[in-house]
Amino acid sequence: MTSPLEQKKIKIAGPSVVTANRTWDGIVVYRTAAKSWSADLSEAAIVRNSDEAKALLAESAADDVGAVGPYIAPVQVGADGKVEPGNLREQIRRTGVTIGQPAQV
């Protein structure tokens, strides 16, 4: 995973969000426009250029107690405004493992 510091050098190529893991239980969360964290991707703040992304990342990183390891992740925004993960890694983080879990199969 690219660290926030390294990501500051990255130019985003499309709509993105800031994601992290919630500190107390580790679950995947997204930074919202209300400056909080949500487990729901649809509530994530969408950024569309590098300056916005850097600003959102900096604000997210400052909330060190709420979530761990924030980074910028690509998303796809449909014509209807629906937000989907932008790559397989983020898809897996959102929906869980692509395999059956032993306790459930």
Partner: protein, 551 residues
């Protein structure tokens, strides 16, 4: 089994209290993540894709039934009902809450289990042969020496802030089941011409981005000197090992760059300073450790009991026995490997129910002892041959009797992109598809011994470099692509595999493996010629031609 003393128990308990306080301070914001990260890593806590992952040590792969039940309890109470046995005699839990970790650690500490040094740049869990103490022909039980090193290196200040993680493995048999040649230090127990116990010491092995097979640095180090010799190696590594570049920080890079001769001279010089110090091990120390390993009161049993003779008529039992049951050093007993590779399931995973039930079976049939091997399987080390049929039936009901040990579906696979924050591609779905593809046990037996190892990134947790067929997942233009090697092995003749050509897509991997296997079956000179023998005789080319002829 090893009986821990009061010092061990105090150490483990105090560590839990310490970590509880650290977690409390982290959750209150008193500690930042930057401050906390090293503390959690030193207690085996990673942050993975979905949640925190908690890695627990199983020193030299030996578990008592109460310990396995405690692991089942952690899986059930604090996680999602299962655990993942790794390639380094650890178990990982994938979905644990940071807030509950101190409680989980405390529950484990009651049975002498901890997570110290299962992460971070320190001495990791000392691993050994999962058949230690029961394998016919071994020099002596390598766990005695593993335990000595474990005690010496646990929380040792000089080994707590190394340039990178450091792994030691020990074997005492001609056939290396501990993969010592892919460890930072590999130790092979031997006897010298005077009959004294000592070690051949190998150094600089490891996989990852830059794989190396370990080189022999010393042909014989007496047992009494092994701690000082290891410490001399560590001191040289601590002094010269690179800390400026994570990719060049492992001791294998130092050994490669200095050359084994120069590295050996540096170690020898350091050793002479400390060899006759308090690091020299008195016989009484070894005897004390030896006395803390207890062995079952074996009965005098026939080599071929009636129960086994009768069960031999059942082809399903025989299919299992052939691959899962190995000779024991005591007549009338066997070592039974429990396959954690059922067809279509993630390699190395076990549910809490399976762990509990296996603990019951170990109590009933294996003197309360279970072993964990680096191939992500378990073993019962002391099973009376007369009990094999009953054990097999019980294992079968638990989905733990898949007759595929050492066959093509006995796949080693890292968690890959389904769990791991470092991974670039998935490993487990590839393993699942391959097990379905080769689910026919007659075909698998026809193919014979063939190890497939899969990693989802270049860090090589799935040991792909040393798979007979190795599969490495990488990411290319947003797609998962898999590079295939053949000819690797992790035993006493350890070797790195050779790449056969360009990477292939996710959906093509199983077809490619099928092509390789078909090529082998067509090319082998006789049924007894194993895959590795054919590769050794013919090289990569015929396999490459077969795979890429139509791609």
């Amino acid at each position: 089994m090893y009986a821990y003393d009061e010092i061990d128990r105090t150490l483990v308990n105090e560590r839990v209290s310490e970590f509880r306080d650290q977690v409390k301070r982290r959750l209150s914001g008193e500690l930042t993540e930057d401050e906390f990260k090293m503390l959690r890593l030193q207690n085996g806590v990673y942050l993975q894709l979905h949640a925190y992952m908690f890695r627990v040590a199983i020193p030299y792969g030996t578990l008592a039934t109460k310990q396995l039940r405690a692991l089942a309890h952690v899986a059930r109470k604090y996680d999602r009902g299962y655990g993942h046995f790794t390639t380094r005699q650890n178990i990982q839990f994938n979905w644990i809450k940071l807030a509950e970790l101190p409680d989980a650690l405390e529950d484990l500490s009651k049975v002498g289990i901890h997570a110290m040094q299962t992460s971070g740049n320190n001495m990791r869990n000392v691993t050994s042969d999962q058949w230690a103490g029961v394998a016919p022909g071994e020099i002596e039980d390598p766990r005695i020496w593993s335990e000595l090193i474990r005690q010496h290196t646990t929380l040792h200040p000089e080994f707590s802030f190394l340039p990178r993680k450091f792994k030691i493995a020990i074997t005492a048999s001609d056939h290396d089941r501990a993969a010592i040649k892919i460890h930072d230090i590999g130790l092979r127990l031997i006897k010298n011409e005077k009959g004294e116990t000592g070690f051949e010491v190998l150094v600089g092995g490891g996989l990852g981005r830059t794989p190396f097979i370990a080189k022999t640095i010393k042909h014989f180090v007496h047992g009494r000197d092994i701690l000082s010799y290891i410490e001399a190696i560590l001191r040289v590594y601590n002094q010269y090992g690179r800390r400026d570049n994570i990719y060049k920080a492992r001791i294998k890079i130092l050994v490669h760059e200095l050359g084994i001769e120069k590295f050996s001279r540096e170690v020898e010089e350091e050793w002479q300073h400390i060899r006759n110090s308090s690091l020299q091990i008195d016989d009484e120390v070894i005897e004390d450790i030896r006395s803390r390993f207890t062995y079952p009161a074996y009965e005098k049993l026939p080599h071929m009991p009636d129960e086994l003779r009768q069960a031999a008529a059942d082809p399903d039992f025989e299919a299992w026995r052939k691959n899962s049951v190995a000779p024991h050093k005591v007549q009338g007993y066997s070592i039974v490997t429990i396959s954690l590779k059922p067809i279509g399931k993630p390699p190395g995973d076990a549910t809490a129910e399976q762990m509990d039930a296996l603990a019951d079976l170990a109590d009933k049939y294996s003197f309360g002892e279970i072993r964990v091997g680096h191939e992500q399987n378990l073993a019962l080390p002391h099973v009376a041959k007369r009990d094999l049929p009953a054990l097999w039936k019980a294992l079968d009901k638990l989905d733990l009797a898949t007759p595929n040990v050492n066959l093509i579906t006995d796949i080693i696979a890292c968690p890959g992109l389904d769990y791991c924050s470092l991974a670039n591609a998935r490993s487990i779905p590839i393993a699942q598809e391959l097990t379905r593809r080769f689910a026919n046990h007659e075909l698998a037996n026809l193919i014979g011994r063939l190890h497939i190892n899969i990693s989802g990134c270049i860090n090589a947790c799935g040991h792909h470099h040393v798979g007979h067929i190795g599969i490495l997942g990488v990411e290319k233009n947003g797609e998962e692509v898999y590079q295939i090697t053949i000819g690797g092995r992790a035993d006493e003749s350890a070797a790195l595999g050779n790449l056969i050509g360009p990477g292939v897509k996710f959906d093509e991997v199983a077809d490619v493996v099928e092509d390789i296997v078909e090529a082998y079956l067509a090319l082998r000179e006789r049924p007894e010629e194993l895959f590795m023998d054919t590769v050794k005789r013919l090289g990569v080319e015929p396999f490459k031609e077969r795979v890429y002829a139509t791609r």
